[in-house]
Amino acid sequence: MTLLDVRNLRVTFQTETGPVQAVRGVSFSLGRERLGIVGESGSGKTITGRAVLRLIRPPGRVEADAMVFDGQDLLHATDREMRALRGKRIGMVMQDPKYSLNPVMTVGRQLTEGLRLRDGLGRADAGAKARAALEAVQIRDPDRVMDAYPHELSGGMGQRVMIAMMLIPEPDLLIADEPTSALDVTVQAEVLSILDALVRDRGMGLIFISHDLRLVARFCDRVLVMYKGRIVEEIAARDLMAARHPYTQGLLNCLPRIGGPRTPLPGLDRSGAWASGGAP
């Protein structure tokens, strides 16, 4: 079943030097699966995720032939309808805990705010649910974290707090923007297994935005490779390491490898026809 369908998405920003198209005609559909979007910074992957939630503010402009979530037209939904979707049905884990958590609220208050206002839970119930969510993302001492302000947490802890916050309302679609890039491999594996369980057990759809090709290859079902606002390649995740597209290959080759040679790492050659917008 299709959960999200996006046809010919274009996002334009006005800059001093004229309009810049950050996303140039992206189409994809998502079922109850793990869809990876990879690309370098500036490739438009984050903007694509934000556009789905209509989080692009004017003068930024979002246009598409269609953008439908579970039968609901996201392009023409009112602001009130969008607010009802955000968080509850479509969650988004933002990239940077330093800028996405409220710096003057304790983690506990931020986690329970939604539970108390939206779900009308009492203080004790909300607190217990928030603590359980923190434990679910492998935070060892939830009580300390509940009382802490965001600046008192490490980047990895902050990121786990954000994941916990987004998972509390049990959304149908989760857009995760680099959710594990501040985590180390062992914790990363735990967080991924939490996300994996949600896709498998609850049938949640997941858009997993990342610049880490190896991670996406291992974790996702399907991968979109983006470059300069376009999808240059769509590929099954298990085939990603054997990708044919020169851009995808270039991204893979410039990664250091354990036991690899000490020679300089190959750079990324952007001289191919694909880089200027032509067909591969």
């Binding site: 190896r214 080759n253 036991g259």
Partner: protein, 258 residues
């Protein structure tokens, strides 16, 4: 004699009546011109060791010596001429309202080094940036360019030691490759000594001769580069870290690249 000697170092933070033992009894030595890596999960104390060397963390036990000398507190000018740090986040580590020129010439002014003009241009060239970048602000540069500026800033006083705190983890794969190549080349050309923190075993393997695996503020195991590649680790934690990085091996499952 080792250039950097850390002996039984402990760092304890106190906040809200709680004590957090970030580093407990860690010892390591780094020889001159060696590149030494620290790996471990976040909160394992690896960055705190770098900060303790710079005098930016409350050391509660142990000794740190550079070139055989116990470091004075506060660290002073002689220290900054010898040891410099490159931070993880080039978006946060450069002053947003200072031009690149000001960022790079400030250490020279503080230390009374003459010829700042030529040195700034040379420093930009050395890290592969055009001299025209001098009068730009950090927000006018990309992440990779900013990290190059941060490296240029660290090298202004021609230190012998660079402390690298996740220098490429905020960067794209292709930019990471460029910055790692730059660091490697600078180390070779100038005979620098690196103490480098990363959570990416493949980056550490590419850059470092030896590495120390840390967990919960303690040293778990020291490994030479060959031992890492051959999976010769003695402790279960180091082994699990290695297993979690299996996709970073030379020949990943599902297709080799070369």
């Amino acid at each position: 004699m080792s250039l950097i000697e850390v002996e039984n170092l402990s760092v304890t933070f106190r906040a809200k009546g709680r004590e957090v033992r970030a580093v407990e009894g860690v010892s390591l030595t780094v020889a001159a011109r060696e590149s030494y890596g620290l790996v471990g999960e976040s909160g394992s104390g690896k960055s705190t060791i770098l900060r303790a060397i710079c005098g930016m963390a409350p050391v509660t036990g142990g000794r740190i010596r550079i070139g055989g000398q116990v470091l004075p507190t506060p660290r002073g000018r002689a220290f900054s001429a010898q040891v410099q740090m490159v931070f993880q986040d080039p978006y946060a580590s450069l002053h947003p309202r200072h031009t690149i020129d000001r960022t790079l010439s400030e250490p020279l002014a503080i230390h009374g080094v003459a010829g700042s003009d030529a040195r700034v241009v040379q420093a930009l060239t050395d890290v592969g940036l055009p001299p025209s970048f001098r009068f730009r602000y950090p927000h006018q540069l990309s992440g990779g360019q900013r990290q190059r500026v941060a490296i240029a800033r660290a090298l202004m006083l021609q230190p012998a030691i660079l402390l690298l705190d996740e220098p490429t983890s905020a960067l794209d794969a292709s930019v990471q490759a460029e910055v790692l190549n730059l660091l490697d080349g600078l180390r070779r050309d100038r005979g620098l000594t690196f103490l480098m923190v990363s959570h990416d075993l493949a980056v550490i393997d590419h850059m470092c001769d030896r590495l120390l695996v840390m967990q919960h503020g303690r040293a778990v195991e020291e490994l030479a580069r060959d031992d890492l590649a051959a999976a010769r680790m003695a402790t279960p934690y180091a082994r699990s870290l290695f297993a979690a990085s299996a996709d970073r091996m030379l020949e990943p499952a599902g297709g080799a690249t070369e």
